[in-house]
């Protein structure tokens, strides 16, 4: 019988079936960062355990790093303490760390693929809900909490039930000014923020096949926003071309052997799914969220919806969202004034994202009263962007050009909204308080749309600015 990538990866990594009925799954790559691990290392210490596969474990520092200056010690005492603990834990347990002086530091979900650590057919775990990002290369990647970080550190395994599989086919071509971010926001809007609970998502169809690796990373990144813990794209020529020559990818003849194995891990024609959903790529518009979860979005030319149109389950949540946002149903989302523009995060801070935003910013100025920042996803992204002069484009337009980190995606460093500020953001979550101010408001959109909003001072259709 034809098998899916999920079937094959699951079988290849099964250590045993546990008494609970769950699978003990071997984890091929464990990525860690400073926020969800200090307690896990402490638990290991208390239990007298070692890291079982330190050579399959890699650390970076991303969530709490300041992005204006990264000189140590950090100004924030608590952030500094977390950095000190990470360095100490990595040293004590023999885990390699991509520290600030390595040239390889960055958001964990940006550096994994970039360094070639993320590979097809593998299993990956990270104490972060956006771990599904790595699925873009055909890996099965799970976001976990701190107890499970401890499990993986100590045993290189997770106890998991095998998820169901939903194939999401995006067919056709995206219109100009429509990006991968718009595709995934549309999927989440369509299937709901909990539609994927219990599922892994396999993204396919001609539109996904035509996407670059960075676009696929954006799609898989937001799987959890649709409720799915894992999401992946089958590995193909785009994947293999992306991996060739990356520092941790197999080199030389080993690469050719790897390629054969990777190809063999993809879903076979005729494989069956628990559910299949199809979307027309050509019908997708630039999307903007109007509410407090990533499923509450509309096309930029559409009006903010009326809670009366919502399902019974969603009605109260829609009304709550409108109250919190101070928005009125029936009004267009375009024209909403913004205070802050943020281009960054593991969803949209790779080179192609910065290029798309720079293309809009070029020759224009950030609107008066708008604070705009560009935070590259990694030191490597920053270097590549600087090599082609993108930082000059942003600086000339009045954007701040920052160092790599999570920054305003979650406001754990100095970058925060204040009061009720509205932020046009290329990140992935518009939850209440997400960007550091309890009353701050987030509008999720593509990086090009953020740049368009920054230079217009309000939400606009980026297609009007593309020449």
């Amino acid at each position: 019988m034809a098998e899916t990538l999920l079937d094959k990866v699951w079988r290849a990594h099964t250590v045993r079936v546990l008494p609970s009925g769950q699978t003990q799954l071997f984890i091929g790559l464990h990525l860690i960062h400073e926020v969800t691990t200090p307690q896990a290392f402490q638990m290991l210490r208390e239990a007298g355990l070692k890291v079982r596969f330190p050579e399959r474990t890699f650390a970076t520092i991303d969530h709490i790093v300041p992005t204006a200056s990264q000189a140590r010690p950090f100004g924030d005492r608590l952030a500094e303490e977390m950095a000190v603990h990470l360095v100490r834990n990595c040293k004590e347990f023999g885990v390699p760390l991509f520290d600030l002086d390595s040239g390889r530091q960055g958001i964990v979900h940006v550096i994994g693929p970039e360094l070639g650590l993320t590979q097809p057919g593998t299993t990956i775990a990270c104490g972060d809900s956006h771990t599904a990002t790595h699925g873009a290369l055909g890996a099965l990647a799970f976001g976990v909490g701190t107890s499970q970080v401890r499990d993986v550190l100590a045993t290189q395994c997770l106890a998991l039930p095998k998820p169901k599989l939903r194939q999401i086919r995006v067919e056709g071509r995206l219109a100009r000014g429509v990006y991968a971010k718009d595709v995934i926001l549309t999927i989440i809007q369509r299937l709901g923020v909990k539609g994927g609970v219990g599922y892994a998502y396999e993204y396919g169809g001609s539109a996904v096949a035509a996407m670059s690796m960075e676009e696929r990373l954006t799609i898989c990144n937001m799987s959890i926003e649709g409720g799915a813990r894992a999401g992946y794209v089958n590995p193909d020529a785009t994947t293999f071309a992306y991996l060739r020559g990356r520092p941790f990818a197999p080199q030389g003849e080993a690469f050719d052997r790897a390629l054969q194995w990777w190809k063999g891990m993809a879903t076979e024609p005729g494989a069956s799914f628990d559910d299949v959903v199809a979307l027309d790529a050509g019908a997708i518009q630039p999307v903007v969220t109007w509410g407090i979860n990533p499923g509450q979005s509309v096309g930029v030319r559409d009006p903010i919806p009326d809670p009366a149109e919502a399902s019974e389950t969603d009605r109260a949540a829609w009304a709550e969202a409108l109250t919190f946002m101070g928005f009125q149903s029936g009004r267009p989302i375009a024209g909403t004034r913004i205070d802050v523009a943020f281009i960054g995060s593991c969803t949209n801070a790779r080179l192609s994202d910065l290029r798309a935003a720079a293309a809009v910013a070029k020759g224009r100025k950030v609107a008066t009263g708008v604070r705009a920042l560009v935070v590259p996803g990694s030191q490597a992204v920053a270097a590549a962007a600087e090599a082609e002069g993108l930082h000059d484009v942003f600086l000339a337009a009045g954007f701040e050009w920052r160092k790599a980190g999570c920054s305003l995606c979650l406001g754990m460093n100095e970058d925060k909204l204040t009061g009720r500020e509205i932020c046009a953001s290329s990140s992935n979550r518009n939850f209440k308080g997400r960007q550091g101010s309890p009353l701050g408001r987030t509008l999720l959109m593509s990086p090009a749309m953020v740049a368009a909003a920054a230079v217009s001072g309000q939400v606009v259709d980026v297609r009007e600015l593309l020449t």
């Binding site: 250590v15 091929g28 197999p250 080993a254 550091g436």
Partner: protein
Amino acid sequence: MSRDDVRRTMVGRGIPLPGNDIDTDRIIPARFLKSVTFEGLEAHVFADDRTQNPDHPFNEDRYQGAAILVVGVNFGCGSSREHAPEALRRWGIRGIVGESFGEIFFGNCTALGVPCLTAEVADVRWLMDAVARQPGREIVLDLEKGEVRFGDRTIAAAIPDGARRQLVTGTWNATGVLLEAGEAIERVARSLPYIRGF
């Protein structure tokens, strides 16, 4: 595993928290994650929601000391921060019943020995109202029978079998169970071409 770890029934007074899609950023805002321990998180559970809404259930005197949280749809969606269930647990929550849960949150709760049971919409609403009327009365979550009891009424409540077995047998701290696989872990590692280096 110890006998203290067995979670067959969870008993305690209830606290209803209406609303859907309550994410982990709301349960514990990110600024409280800036710590290398989980200590003291209970003080900040729902910090911003409680400031914005003085009538938030976690502010109300009558729910202090409650142990069973009653929630709506997709509770705990969003971030994987275990700080969320830790904050709830340290506040005193021993079990949760709701319409549905975010998947990572559910797994984190299980890993802390906090059972999350799902029930039908109408039953959850009834329970929220009933608890609000009788906050002093105890709720019983019965994992073995798959039910929740309050007063003279019993409602069906489900939990996926794998998690249920971990909880009722006291093996929800998975590290010990996973370690029992011993050398089989290394055998699987050696069988994987990418671990061998192709």
